[in-house]
Amino acid sequence: MDFPLWPEAASSVAADVDHLYIYLTLVSAVMTLLIFATIAVFAIKYRRRSPDEVPAPIHGSLKLEITWSIIPFLVMLTFFWWGAKIFFLNATPPPDSMDIYAVGKQWMWKIQYPGGQREINELHVPVGRPVKVTVASEDVIHSFFIPAFRVKHDVVPGRYDVLWFTATKPGRYHLFCAEYCGTEHSGMVGWVTVMPPADYENWLAGGGTGGTMAQQGERLFEQLGCSTCHQLDKQGRCPILRGVYGSQVKLADGKTVTADDAYIRESILNPNAKVVAGYRSDVMPTFQGQVTEEQILQLIAYVKSLAITSTAEAPAGAQPAAAASTQPNGGKQ
């Protein structure tokens, strides 16, 4: 019967991780065999030959103790060093990464693209471009795991985490939830499709959307009534959001925060946590329970777009047509 013994390696880090894994395996195999062989030799050579033999005691040897403490530790330091190097290199996405957003929800993965395309349990990425996935959870802890890419990151409710990869080989690969999350944990699986860049552009264009994420966010901004207080060009009861994203915001308590994704998310769900200096704290209601994590990401995309230009412009791929891929019953593998 045909079955794999080694996972496919389809990302830029996969080979690094494999090399380290092979190194660890070889060192462990040598250590294990050394111990096994020594025990086997001793067990045979020093087997009891007469029932009353009493061997002479050997109390120990400081030299040996030091040797077999230091040498293994030095070997382990090479594990540590190599592993830490890979971990650090992979901790921060390259600045030119393309953005994708993944929301874990019992028991599916909801994927959004900046162009507004949405999918469930399917992720499409191009070959050769770093992809930064911002992960969020609607409920419990999940874990975003693509074995062929050797990447995994827990998806923790209440915050954003980031992982990244560069796919190197077209194909279809497993996407798993790796953190136990309830009844259909093992059903929270999907596929990652890696495509050549040209095919990917075609795919993006073909997926009809209701506008870019930022445009979807803008519509939400109107529907939820945000715009009555957060006016764009004149001072309302709440701060003007134009140019806020990425800036330093002075708070009522004197502290300063950077207006990043996490800060904007918190301000939507818990507006009184960090009130901007000069504004009252009890004006804005919480939107906890009224917006999904996906919608929060769209609102953030909108606020982000306000930081770039004075009028929201539509990037390529925006097609305000039927939202084809948004049905929640879509594509469970």
């Binding site: 660890l24 040897s61 077999w68 971990f87 995994k152 790796a178």
Partner: protein, 543 residues
Amino acid sequence: MSTALEQPRAQETPNYLNAEYGWKSWLFTTDHKRIAVLYLISISVMFMLGGIFAMLIRLELLTPQGDLVNSDTYNKIFTMHGVVMIFFFLIPSIPATLGNFLLPIMIGAKDLAFPRINLLSWYIYIVGGLFALGAVVMGGVDTGWTFYTPFSTTYSNTFVITAASGAFVAGFSSILTGLNFIVTVHKMRAPGMTWGRLPLFVWANYATGLIQVLGTPVVAITLALVGLERAFHIGIFDPAIGGDPILFQHMFWFYSHPAVYIMILPGMGVISELVTCFSRKGVFGYPFIAGSSLGIAIIGFLVWGHHMFVTGMSTYAGLYFSLLTMLVAVPSAIKVFNWTATMFRGSISYETPMLYAFGFIGLFTIGGLTGLFLGTLGTDVHLTDTYFVVAHFHYVMVGGMVVAYMGGLHFWWPKITGKMYPDGWGKFSALLVFAGFNLTFFPQFITGYLGQPRRYHAYAPEFQVLNVMSTAGASVLALGFAIPVIYLLWSLKSGPPAGNNPWGAKGLEWEIQSPPTTFNFDQTPIVTEEAYAYAKHQEEHVG
């Protein structure tokens, strides 16, 4: 075991088993040996229960589809397997049975320092066990033994509080056992039994006691907070009500990683006894084996974060925890090397307990080394939460701890019962355990690297062949554990008398009769030599 308490035989010499009769004499006993027997029966029941859950897991995973039971049931089965095996078998296993029985005798004492607290700890254990069984009977619990939040506090619709109460209560039993051991070792040693002469089994249980006393309260607090959040929606762990789910993991692993050492240290203590006895030779590097137990106990408290490398913790925290994890492996390596060196120029014989000791050294070495794959940051990202982790900790917990427990049980069974079991059957089942274990768990290293996540009810079809191997191995393993139950029970009635020292072993427990009398020693022994003084075996103690 029950046959032992119903056989009044006039011709038998008085011992702790026939000193009194009737159920009251057992349920109200303060004799550490009888309490050890009570524990032995209780944890055996729990081990069988946990084993049945394990077999159900393996049967379900025979095919990639989730077809034997539904997902909810499967989730409950693996949760109860973990809860029962960890809190009700592995943690109490060696300390509460062999430790309870032997620790006072090994240091020349009549009993533990607090005999009634010892009995209390058993009752607490039983109450905890009833909570756990209650959770099963009422409908089960599906959080995994790790009770991760906010799933356990907000989303699970099962009997989380009942099961967590079981673990919470059982923790106090563990604390009391640890406390009792620490005080006993400090205060009850016979004249001449200096710290440098303590058998290594005593050192190991002493170090275990330290972890039990210092670590267990933290898991008790953590589980209590889970109960509070679940029952009263106090925002501690669930971010929707202002909590932090990662806080739970820090608190949980602050106990549960040291708990791994609660489970393995006593097993290491057993192996030190077995290797010396069946090499008929003093131990190589006594201070290093004894000291490494303390080293493990201390450094073991500083590595918990290696369970959380992919939770988004700071990369610098990741560095720290990875480095400390490498450090905690050193004392374990020291032990393995010293056991091996003890065999050098020994007089090695191959009775059943020694086969288990060989098995332990081999399997624990693999378990320990694969732990380094998980402590290494670059590989852990891919391996964590896959079957690689499952394989790793079963190599340590089953290949290490359970194998050591089986070895210890076969070693001291003649002392505990006064009866001998058939050594041939013992060897046969030891080999079955070794073969079945490797067939079960070695393939899981491969499925883990392939990426099969743990706790999956249904899995991708390409993993099936390796899973079928696992299930086949589990059947052999089950047989390897079932056969000893039969011949050990048989030996109670029909086994030949063991004599006081069937193995020619050193140590105070082998100088008294089998089974021992209620107060162990007719007069307090005076110790004049180091542990494992095999070369001086003509000299003797007062006994």
